[in-house]
């Protein structure tokens, strides 16, 4: 059939061709191998090189890991058990895991941090997964006070008193809002501050004398290991996000004063290494506080870590805000939504969604940065690994401790990362 005819001669198909399987080379394992590993000579060489590297790595580390000694009281016993062959001595983890986890927290009270840890997931679940019953959010709101009481103990009336301050703020806001919106915000700030400054103390004292309830008090210097990393990390993460949002909004504000305060704060904190802020927390902060107040070191570190992460968070969120088209603000305005409603319902859900990778980056960074507290004398896992090595039994052991610590951090960070990918998929509604 010539070319011209194929254009000019009319044609009607009378039998339709049924669907057929692709040729064998176009499917299954062979296709996958060809497409992904051996497509072209350069990729083939790269594949072979990678296989070689993987082989070397396994050959070097494999036997050492395989020959692990799990039960021994000291490095010397380990070496004897190995009898000259190369092998790991994870017996140290077996011997000292409780220290790596809890520091010097009293062993008979271990159930308290463990319970707090389990409840953490209950409290997080309604925030992380929106299909769970909304009533669980009340538990999430109460969780910080429950966790504080479980970890530190002392009189139960102290956390209850602190929580009542927030209740006072909400009640004041609800009452005053009927009169004036702006005054309500002031009331919502002043009422709890007034409560905490003047009433929470007497409340604690009276209630404790009437009904002395509580758990055994544990001092902050007994905290250590992953307990301390988690306390600092989780608190820092949950406080730095809202603070970062406020800073990002402040930086965009038209009000010159608010804007400059936010800009100065962000630029200052970002321009200073975290370690100097931690030293400030451990040494200088005492000078600024009224004499006689002993301000818990863990609390001071939490404040510094939070501020540090919030400054980064603010910039990440500002990026998300900048990516939103102006039309979104205009549509919200044109519908009569006020600033806060527009932010909450239209702008933030979209800006935060765009910023998820950056936010998660900051979270993971913050969590890993908690290991810096070792430099101001807090016994986080790294600090404890030093303490363990200082013991004559385990002098000279490095790899096993660091592998264990690294693996635990990895589990947490990988979990956060996976969740964020789930969240991104779930929130994907643009379908483009």
């Amino acid at each position: 059939m010539s070319n011209i005819e194929s254009h000019t001669i009319a044609y009607v198909r009378d039998t339709m061709i049924p669907e057929q399987d692709p040729p064998i080379t176009e499917s299954g394992a062979i296709k996958w191998l060809r497409d992904n590993l051996f497509s072209g000579w350069l990729n083939t060489v790269l594949t072979l090189l990678s296989l070689l590297v993987i082989w070397w790595a396994i050959a070097a580390i494999g036997p050492w890991l395989w020959n692990t000694v799990w039960n021994a009281g000291s490095l010397r016993e380990c070496r004897e058990a190995l009898g000259g062959t190369s092998g790991a001595c994870f017996a140290v983890i077996n011997d000292r895991w409780h220290q790596l986890m809890f520091g010097f927290y009293p062993p008979r009270l271990y159930w308290r941090p463990v319970l707090a840890f389990v409840l953490l997931f209950v409290a997080l679940s309604p925030i992380l997964f929106t299909n769970l019953p909304r009533k669980l959010l009340y538990f999430s709101a109460a969780y910080p006070f429950i966790a504080y009481h479980l970890l530190w103990g002392g009189s139960i009336w102290l956390p209850i008193g602190a929580a009542l301050g927030f209740v006072a703020g909400i009640v004041a806001f609800a009452i005053v809002r009927k009169i004036n919106g702006l005054a309500a915000i002031f009331a919502a700030v002043i009422a709890p501050v007034f409560w905490w400054l003047f009433l929470a103390g007497p409340f604690d004292a009276t209630m404790s004398s009437i009904l002395p309830l509580g758990l055994e008090f544990v001092r902050s210097d007994r905290f250590g290991g992953f307990l301390i990393s988690l306390v600092i990390g989780v608190t820092g993460i949950s406080l730095s996000l809202p603070l970062g949002i406020l800073l990002a909004l402040g930086r965009q504000s038209d009000m010159v004063f608010v804007k400059s305060v936010c800009v100065i704060f962000i630029e200052f904190i970002r321009g200073v290494p975290l370690i100097t802020l931690l030293f400030t927390a451990s040494l200088l902060l005492n000078y600024f506080l009224p004499p006689g107040t002993s301000f818990d070191l863990i609390l001071r570190v939490i404040i510094m870590v939070t501020l540090f992460a919030a400054a980064y968070m603010a910039e990440v969120i500002r990026g998300g805000l900048a990516a939103l088209p102006r039309g979104q603000y205009e549509a919200a305005d044109a519908l009569g939504l006020d600033y806060w409603k527009a932010q909450r319902l239209i702008i933030m859900p979209q800006a935060l969604k765009i910023s998820i990778p950056g936010i998660v980056n900051t979270f993971i960074g913050l969590f890993k940065d908690t290991t810096l507290v070792v430099f101001i004398g807090l016994l986080d896992p790294i600090g404890l690994s030093n303490a363990i090595r200082a013991d004559t039994d385990w002098q000279g052991i490095y790899w096993e401790l660091f592998i264990f610590i690294g693996a635990l951090f990895f589990v947490f960070c990988f979990g956060i990362s996976r969740y964020s990918m789930y969240l991104e998929r779930k929130l994907k509604t643009d379908h483009r």
């Binding site: 088209p325 039309g327 979104q328 205009e330 549509a331 305005d333 044109a334 519908l335 009569g336 939504l337 006020d338 409603k341 319902l345 239209i346 859900p349 979209q350 969604k353 929130l427 509604t429 643009d430 379908h431 483009r432």
Partner: protein, 267 residues
């Protein structure tokens, strides 16, 4: 020349029985001026819009049409003169601004739907949060207006899954859910393909037939001819000419208008 020169965009007969201009003043603009920095965008604008009027604003690009209608719901701030909408003067008082905005609906060139919410949620958001309408009731109202713009079956989709014309009709429905007394349109069809332009114009004509007070910035002269009771021509930030459509198209007075019409109508 006495016959209309422009093709009317719809094939049906327009029902004019509810299109009644009343004596009640809806918008009063007097001596209004606006600057962007030192650039004088709007110069001495005087305009009265009565309830029930359907006004089409046209003019060359950059003449300040968008700026004018954006001043009416204070998306832009004017620096001199007075704008009174439904008896409320627009000043920096936030209460007044919110009041005016909830009375005035606006439809944008690029739709500006909220991409993270479904069509239904787009429509119920403002009634629930601004008007404090119960959710059930807001959803019923939303479905009513989505039926009116002929896309109730899309209610649970996201804006990204709809065509441009459908999105613009959702945007109109979203505005209507606030039960506005005045509607502003800023080139609602200029980002759309011809087939979709017709859908959207159809919706707008239906709205006019119900007696809605409308100000439309548009270059759809067929629409102007069919439903407008007044055409306003702007150039260089000023209102150069206004007249009822037949006289405006067939017998323009100003040279600028003649030039503009000859360009846009292509003869």
């Amino acid at each position: 020349m006495t016959e209309p020169v422009i093709e009317i965009p719809i094939d049906r007969k327009i029902d004019t029985s509810h299109m009644k201009v009343t004596d009640e003043v809806a918008i009063q603009i007097t001596g209004m001026n606006k600057w962007y920095g030192t650039f004088h965008v709007l110069r001495d604008i005087n305009m009265t819009v009565n309830r029930g009027e359907r006004i089409v604003v046209c003019g060359p690009s950059g003449s300040g049409k968008s700026t004018l209608i954006r001043c009416i719901n204070r998306l832009e701030e004017h620096q001199k003169g007075q704008i009174i909408v439904d008896g409320t003067e627009l000043t920096s008082d936030l209460k007044n601004i919110d009041k005016v905005r909830s009375e005035v609906g606006m439809v944008f060139q690029h739709f500006n739907l909220f991409p993270h919410l479904t069509i239904l949620e787009n429509c119920t958001l403002a009634p629930i949060w601004v008007r404090k309408v119960p959710k059930r009731e807001a959803e019923e109202t939303a479905m009513h207006f989505l039926e009116k713009v002929k896309i109730p079956e899309q209610a649970l989709k996201y804006p990204g899954q709809l065509s441009g014309g459908q999105q613009q009709r959702v945007a109109i429905a979203r505005s209507l859910c606030m039960k506005p007394r005045i509607m502003l349109f800023d080139e609602p069809t200029s980002a759309l393909d011809p087939e979709m332009i017709k859908e959207v114009l159809d919706t707008m004509i239906a709205l006019a037939e119900e007696g809605m007070t409308m100000i439309c910035v548009t270059h759809e002269m067929g629409f102007a001819q069919a439903v407008a009771n007044r055409v306003v021509f702007m150039d260089q930030g000023q209102i150069v000419e206004q007249n009822e459509p037949r006289a405006f198209f067939n017998n323009p007075k100003s040279e600028r208008t003649k030039l503009f019409l000859s360009q846009i109508l292509g003869h």
